[in-house]
C-alpha cells in the first residue's frame, strides 16, 4: 500500500529486449544495482507496458518482434515515451544484415536515442531524466482535466 502510494508519481519504466545480445540489458540491470541506483531518482522499473511511461527498447527489431512491439506500444497509456538504447536499437548495429527490420524508429516513433555499444548506465539514467518529466507533466495535466 505504502509502496504503491509512494510510487504513484514516479517514472514507470518498461524494459523490452527485441532480440539483441543482452549487453544493453546488463547495463540497465547495472542501473538498478546500488552503484547507480535508478530508484533514487524516482525511476521505477516496472516491466508492465500497461502502466509504463517510458519504454526502454534494446536490441534490433527482429521480424517476429515487429508486430509484438507495435502491440506493446499500443497497450501503453498516453502519454508514452520511447527510448532506444544502444547501437542495435538505433540502426540495427551489427545485426543489420540479419533477419531484422532495422532500428526501432522503423516500427514505432522514438523520442530519445542513446548511442553506444552498450551505453553507460549513467547515460541511460541521464536520458530518462531528461525526457521523462515532459511526459509526467502531460499526465498530471490530463489527470487534472479529468478531475475538473
Amino acid at each position: 500500500m505504502v509502496k504503491e502510494f509512494l510510487r504513484k508519481r514516479s517514472i514507470h519504466v518498461c524494459v523490452i529486449n527485441t532480440g539483441g545480445c543482452n549487453g544493453c540489458d546488463i547495463e540497465i540491470v547495472a542501473c538498478l544495482a546500488p552503484r547507480y541506483d535508478i530508484e533514487q531518482y524516482g525511476i521505477y522499473v516496472h516491466n508492465n507496458p500497461r502502466e509504463a511511461d517510458v519504454l526502454l527498447i534494446t536490441g534490433p527489431v527482429t521480424l517476429q518482434w515487429a508486430e509484438r512491439l507495435k502491440e506493446i506500444y499500443e497497450k501503453t497509456p498516453e502519454p508514452k515515451i520511447v527510448v532506444a538504447v544502444g547501437a542495435c536499437a538505433l540502426s540495427g548495429g551489427i545485426f543489420k544484415e540479419g533477419h531484422v527490420v532495422g532500428g526501432v524508429d522503423k516500427v514505432i516513433p522514438v523520442d530519445a536515442k542513446i548511442p553506444g555499444c552498450p551505453p553507460r548506465p549513467s547515460e541511460i539514467i541521464e536520458t530518462i531524466l531528461k525526457v521523462a518529466p515532459k511526459a509526467i507533466a502531460m499526465r498530471e495535466k490530463k489527470l487534472k482535466n479529468r478531475d475538473e
Binding site: 538505433l90 540502426s91 548495429g93 536515442k113 555499444c117
Partner: protein, 405 residues
C-alpha cells in the same frame, strides 16, 4: 571509557566508512573510466586522408560511409553514430592515422594486430603477368615481389581494392569474404555428411581433365579434401586420385582448384605499339612482358607487340629506356604490326622448310657418303690390285730386258 572512545574514533576514521557514506556521490560512478571509448571516432587529421576506404571495409557494423568533402576535395569518412559499436577497428586499420578514438591509437601502437576487413584479396599467380601495377597502386606498400611472383601480405592488407582497379587482367586478384566462405563450408558439410552415410551420388567424368591446385591461392581451408571422393594432398597441393566429379571446383572459395583459366584483358580501347625508329633493340620490354605478347621480328631484329596477346599492363612502356613504346588505338596497333606478323610468318615457314630440307639433305648426304665409301674402297682395292699387277709386269719386263741384253 577513554579506550573505547579511541576505538570509536579509529573506526570512524577508516577510509571504507567514508567511501560507504559517499558511495552515491563518488566520482567514479559518473566519470567514465580512462579507457572508455567515446563514440563515434573523430576524424582528427582530415588532410592526411587518402580516401582508401579501409575504415569502411573494416567496420563490422557498416557505420562508415565515404562522403565527398568540398573543403578537402576528397572523400572523407562519415560515421553513423547510431551504428558505431566502438570497436576501434577503423582507428587501427587507418594507414595514415587520420582517425582517433580517445587515446586508442597511442595505447595500442606496436601491438600485434591483423587488420580487420570484410573482403580478402589474393593474387592469382597463374593468371598474373607480373606487370607490377598492383605494387605501384598499393597505398600502404604491402604487395611485394617474392621469387618472381607478386604477393599480398594478407595480415597487413586493408582491402582498399586499389590493386584491383590497377590490375590489367580480369579476375587476376581474387576477392573472397567470410560470407562466401561460410556458405561454401555449409555446402561442403552437407556433402560430407552424405558421403559418410553413403548416399552421395557422384557423376563421374563431369569434367574433362584432372584439376590442379594453384599454390598461392590455396588458403588450406580443406573444403576440397572433405568433399573429394578420391584423394587430395593439401600439403603437397596435388590431386592424387580423381574421378572427375567436379565437386571441388564448385566449392573452392578462392577458385584455387581449377582446370584452366584464360587471361582476359580488361581494356580493349587502347594498345601499345613500339616505334621502330626510336627502338634501340635492347629487348628490355621482351624480358619484362609476362604475357608473352612481345616478339622479336626476324626481319629487322627489333621487338614488336602482338595486339591479341597484349594485356595492356604497361610494364614495357614504363621500362623502355628511350620511350619508344606508345599508347594508340587497337586498330592502329594492328595496322602497325601487320607487316611484321606476316613477315614473321613467311620467314618462319621458310625456316621450317629449310630445316626440313637440311635434315633431309643431311640424311641423303650421309647415305651417299656411306655408299661412296664402299665403292671407293672397292675401287681402291681394284686399283691397288691393278697397280700391283702393272708393277709386277713392269718388273718382269725389266727383268726380261736385262736377261735379253
Amino acid at each position: 571509557m577513554a579506550s573505547s572512545l579511541w576505538y570509536l574514533y579509529e573506526f570512524a576514521r577508516k577510509k571504507w566508512i567514508k567511501r560507504f557514506i559517499d558511495a552515491k556521490s563518488d566520482k567514479s560512478s559518473y566519470i567514465p573510466p580512462e579507457r572508455y571509448r567515446k563514440i563515434p571516432p573523430i576524424v582528427k587529421f582530415p588532410e592526411k586522408c587518402i580516401s582508401c576506404e579501409a575504415c569502411k571495409e573494416s567496420c563490422p557494423a557498416f557505420a562508415v560511409e565515404m562522403v565527398y568533402s568540398e573543403e578537402y576535395n576528397k572523400n572523407l569518412p562519415v560515421f553513423d553514430e547510431g551504428s558505431c559499436i566502438a570497436c576501434a577497428n577503423c582507428v587501427e586499420v587507418c594507414p595514415t592515422g587520420v582517425l582517433e578514438m580517445d587515446k586508442h591509437r597511442i595505447e595500442t601502437e606496436g601491438l600485434f594486430f591483423d587488420k580487420p576487413k570484410y573482403h580478402n584479396l589474393i593474387i592469382d599467380e597463374e593468371v598474373c603477368v607480373r606487370c607490377g601495377n598492383c605494387e605501384r597502386a598499393c597505398p600502404i606498400n604491402v604487395i611485394e615481389r617474392k621469387e618472381g611472383k607478386y604477393v599480398i601480405n594478407m595480415a597487413l592488407c586493408i582491402s582498399c581494392k586499389e590493386c584491383v582497379k590497377a590490375c590489367p587482367i580480369e579476375n587476376a586478384i581474387i576477392i573472397f569474404d567470410e560470407k562466401t566462405l561460410k556458405e561454401k563450408i555449409d555446402k561442403a558439410f552437407e556433402i560430407k555428411n552424405k558421403k559418410t552415410i553413403g548416399k552421395l551420388e557422384i557423376k563421374e567424368n563431369a569434367i574433362e581433365e584432372i584439376p590442379h591446385i594453384v599454390n598461392g591461392l590455396c588458403i588450406s581451408c580443406g573444403i576440397c579434401k572433405d568433399v573429394c571422393v578420391g584423394e587430395i594432398d593439401l600439403k603437397e597441393k596435388k590431386v592424387v586420385k580423381c574421378v572427375k566429379c567436379g565437386l571441388c571446383i564448385e566449392l573452392c572459395p578462392t577458385t584455387a582448384i581449377r582446370i584452366y583459366k584464360p587471361i582476359i584483358s580488361k581494356r580493349k580501347d587502347i594498345c601499345y605499339v613500339i616505334d621502330e625508329d626510336l627502338c634501340i633493340g635492347c629487348r628490355i620490354c621482351y624480358k619484362v612482358c609476362g604475357a608473352g605478347a612481345i616478339k622479336i621480328s626476324k626481319e629487322t631484329k627489333l621487338p614488336y607487340i602482338v595486339p591479341e596477346l597484349c594485356v595492356r599492363g604497361g610494364a614495357c612502356a614504363r621500362e623502355c629506356p628511350v620511350e619508344a613504346i606508345k599508347i594508340v588505338k587497337p586498330e592502329e596497333a594492328e595496322e602497325a604490326v601487320k607487316v611484321r606478323i606476316i613477315e614473321d610468318k613467311i620467314i618462319e615457314s621458310i625456316e621450317a622448310d629449310l630445316i626440313l630440307y637440311t635434315e633431309k639433305y643431311g640424311k641423303v648426304k650421309e647415305e651417299i657418303e656411306k655408299l661412296s665409301l664402299k665403292k671407293l674402297k672397292e675401287e681402291l682395292k681394284k686399283r691397288v690390285y691393278e697397280e700391283n699387277k702393272r708393277i709386277k709386269e713392269m718388273k718382269r719386263e725389266l727383268y726380261d730386258k736385262g736377261n735379253n741384253s
